[in-house]
Symmetry: C2
Subunit: 392 residues, 2 copies
C-alpha cells in the first residue's frame, strides 16, 4: 500500500471519467469527512447539495417552461433558444458568495453516479404508475444500468433496436409502448456512439400512453448546452434526467445527478428515517460522499459556462482530427457527434494496443472506442496513432 499508486491518465482512452479539476479536487479533500445523507448532522454539505441541484436544474432547463411537443417527425431543436441560454447564464455562478442559494425548492439530489440516478428514475416511475407487470422501454443504446434497474425493480425491460445511425427508432419505440409502460427512456449522449435520441418525440410517445419520460444525459449533460440538440427539460416535456458532474462536469467521483420536473418524482422515492433528525430520505444510498457534492459545487462554480464551453470546443475539434486520422488509415469511422470516436480496429490490433498499456474498450459490435475526455489530448493521441501504425 505504501508504494501503491494509481496509473496515470496518459493511456486511458476508455473512461467516461477524468481527472477532477483542481478546484474540484481541493473541495473534495476539504469535505472528505462529511455526509450529505445525514443533513441534520452535516448541515453545511446539505446546503451545498441543494445549490448543486439548483444549478444542475438550470443547466438542464428546469427554470424554463417546457416547450410544447413538436409535431411528429420534426425533431429539429430551436437553435437560438439553446445557445442563448448558455450565453445568458455566464454570470450565474459568479459573485462574492459563489454559488447562489437555491431559489425554488430543487427536485433532485447528487447521486453516487449515473447508475443510481437511472435506477431511481425507473423506481420513481414504477411507484407513480403502480401498474402490475410494469415495463420500461429503452433504445438498445441505453446504458446497462437500465438492465440493472429492471432486474432490481422487477420490471420488464423492452430494449428496442436503434436506427442505422444508433439512435432510438421512434416507430420501434412507439410499437413497444403499451398500457403497462411506466417509463420511456431517451439517451442524450450514448455510451458507445455519443448519439442524442429524438427526445421531444420520445416524451410525446411516453405521455400519449400515460408513461413518464426519462433522459439519460449522464455523460452528455455538460457538453449538450453548447450544441443545438433538443435534450433537456426546456426542450421537451420530459419528467426526469440524469446528469453526472463526475463525468464531463469534472467533479470527483462520486457525484452523479438526478433531477425531476415535479416534487412527486422525488416523493415517490422517500422512506422514513428513524434515528436521523431528518425525517425521510430519497437517495438509494444512506451515507453519501460529501467530497463528491463539494467537488461538484466547486467545479460548476468555476467552469460554468465558459470553462465547459471551451472544453466542448476543444474535444469537438480533437475528435474531428482523430476521426480523420483514423479514416486516413482506412478505418471505418462512423460520423462523430459528441466527442466519442469509434473505429473498426481488428481484434488482433486491439489486443496489441491493450498489451502496450492503452486502456481502450470495444462497443458491443466490436468497434474500438475512444472517449475524448479532458485528459485525452493530441499529445496522448499522437503516440497512440504511432503505436497503432506499429502494430496493425
Amino acid at each position: 500500500m505504501q508504494r501503491a499508486a494509481p496509473q496515470t491518465f496518459d493511456r486511458v482512452l476508455s473512461s467516461m471519467c477524468t481527472e477532477p479539476h483542481p478546484v474540484a479536487r481541493e473541495a473534495a479533500e476539504r469535505f472528505l469527512a462529511t455526509n450529505p445523507g445525514d443533513p441534520a448532522t452535516y448541515a453545511d454539505i446539505a446546503r451545498l447539495e441543494a445549490r448543486v441541484v439548483t444549478e444542475l436544474g438550470r443547466l438542464a432547463g428546469l427554470d424554463v417552461p417546457p416547450q410544447p411537443a413538436p409535431p411528429e417527425g420534426t425533431s429539429e431543436p430551436d437553435d437560438s433558444q439553446t445557445v442563448d441560454r448558455a450565453l445568458t447564464e455566464t454570470d450565474l455562478l459568479g459573485g462574492s458568495e459563489g454559488l447562489r442559494d437555491a431559489g425554488a425548492e430543487p427536485h433532485g439530489y447528487v447521486t453516487s453516479g449515473g447508475t443510481e440516478a437511472n435506477i431511481q428514475a425507473v423506481r420513481s416511475a414504477r411507484e407513480r404508475c403502480a401498474v402490475e407487470e410494469a415495463n420500461v422501454v429503452v433504445p438498445e443504446s441505453a446504458h446497462f444500468s437500465f438492465t440493472k434497474a429492471a432486474d432490481l425493480l422487477d420490471v420488464e425491460l423492452r430494449s428496442v433496436p436503434t436506427d442505422a445511425d444508433h439512435r432510438a427508432d421512434l416507430e420501434g419505440v412507439a410499437a413497444a409502448v403499451d398500457e403497462k409502460t411506466v417509463l420511456v427512456v431517451g439517451i442524450a449522449g450514448s455510451t458507445e456512439y455519443g448519439r442524442v435520441d429524438p427526445i421531444p418525440e420520445l416524451a410525446a410517445i411516453a405521455h400519449d400512453e400515460g408513461a413518464y419520460c426519462h433522459v439519460d444525459a449522464a455523460w452528455g449533460g455538460f457538453l449538450l448546452p453548447f450544441t443545438d440538440y433538443a435534450w433537456n427539460f426546456a426542450h421537451a416535456g420530459i419528467d426526469s434526467l440524469t446528469i453526472d458532474p463526475h463525468k464531463c462536469g469534472r467533479a470527483a467521483i462520486p457525484a452523479g445527478g438526478l433531477l425531476f420536473r415535479d416534487p412527486e418524482g422525488m416523493d415517490a422515492l422517500a422512506v422514513d428515517t428513524p434515528y436521523l433528525e431528518s425525517t425521510s430520505q430519497a437517495s438509494l444510498t444512506g451515507t453519501r460522499s460529501g467530497a463528491g457534492v463539494a467537488s461538484a459545487a466547486a467545479a460548476i462554480e468555476h467552469l460554468w459556462p465558459d470553462g465547459y464551453r471551451r472544453e466542448h470546443e476543444r474535444a469537438d475539434r480533437l475528435a474531428a482530427w482523430f476521426a480523420d486520422e483514423l479514416r486516413d488509415r482506412d478505418y471505418d469511422v462512423p460520423e462523430v457527434e459528441l466527442p466519442i470516436v469509434v473505429a473498426d480496429v481488428a481484434p488482433a490490433t486491439f489486443d496489441a494496443l491493450r498489451d502496450r498499456g492503452w486502456r481502450l474498450s470495444r462497443t458491443g459490435s466490436g468497434f474500438a472506442r475512444v472517449v475524448l475526455m479532458p485528459h485525452v489530448t493530441q499529445s496522448v493521441l499522437q503516440p497512440f496513432l504511432a503505436d497503432l501504425d506499429d502494430v496493425r
Copy 2:
C-alpha cells in the same frame, strides 16, 4: 464556495461516521481519480479492492469453517476462539508489500455504504430463492435500509418486535418465517442501542426454512472482533454480512463492505457490461469511488488489529464513564454494550442542546443517542455535560 468549510467534529455526537484516519485520508486523496467499477481501465484500484475484500473476509471469519449451530437457547460464544483470532492476526497486514495479495477468490466488494450492502444482500437472496411473493424477516431494530430494500425489490418486509433488551426475539422471528421467506436478518451492533442479536440461532431458524441469513455489522464490524459476541462467518452459518470500513474502520466515505460465504451470492447480482472490457458487474452502482477503496485498504493495513483494539477499549471505557455521568443526573440509561449511549433526555432539553450546536439524534422511542466514535472524546463530552446541566 471559496469560503465554504464543513463544520468540525467537535459537537457531532450523532454520526456513525468519523474523521478518516490520516493514512486513510492520504490514500483517498491519492486515488481520488480512480474507478474500481471499471477494472480493465483502472487495474490498480481493482487489485486493491480485491485485497480489501480478502481482509474484510478474514476479519469476519471467512477463512475459518463455520461452527455447527449451537443447541437452541445457548447463544454464548466461544470466548477463547474469538479472542485468539484477533491475537493471531497481528501480523497479517504487515510486511514490505503491505496488504497481501488475495489467496482464495474473495466473494464480495466494497460498496457505497451499508445501505447498498444490505440492499444487495436482500436482492441476492431474492434471486437465489426465486419464490413468488418473497418476504424478508428483520428485527424491528434493523436499519431503515431494509425498508428501502423491500420497497425497491418489491419483497414483503416482516419486522418483528425486539425483546425487552432491544435484541431480536427468537420466538417472534421463528413465527414470522415461512416458506416464502428468502432472508432472515440479524444485527450485530444495532443503530439505536448497539445491540448484537443472537446470530447463530437466527441462522439456524433461517436455514431450517431454506432461507438465507444476513448479518448487518455495518457499524459493529470493526469493534466486534475484540468482544466475545458470536457475530461472524466463523461463529454461525450465516450467508452474507455487511461491514463498513467508513464507519468504525476509519476509512473515508464511501467505503462499505458486502461479503458472501459462497460465490453464488455474488453471481446472483451480476449483470452483463457491454462496452467495458470486464464482462460483468455485481455492484449496485456503476462508477465507484477509488478513494473509498484505497482509504479502506490503508486504514485496515495500519489499524488491524492493534489500532482497532485500542479504539474499542477507549470507546468502551468512555461509554461506561459517560453512562455513569448521565445516571448520576438521574437519566434512564439502558445498559451499554457496544459504545452507543442512550438516555431519556426530555424533548425541551434535547432541543436546547441542538440549539447550542450539539449534533444529537433520537431513537424511535425518543431517547437521546450518543455514538462514541473516535472523534468523541472526554474533552468533547465534558462541555456537553456542562451544557446539559445548564439547559435542563
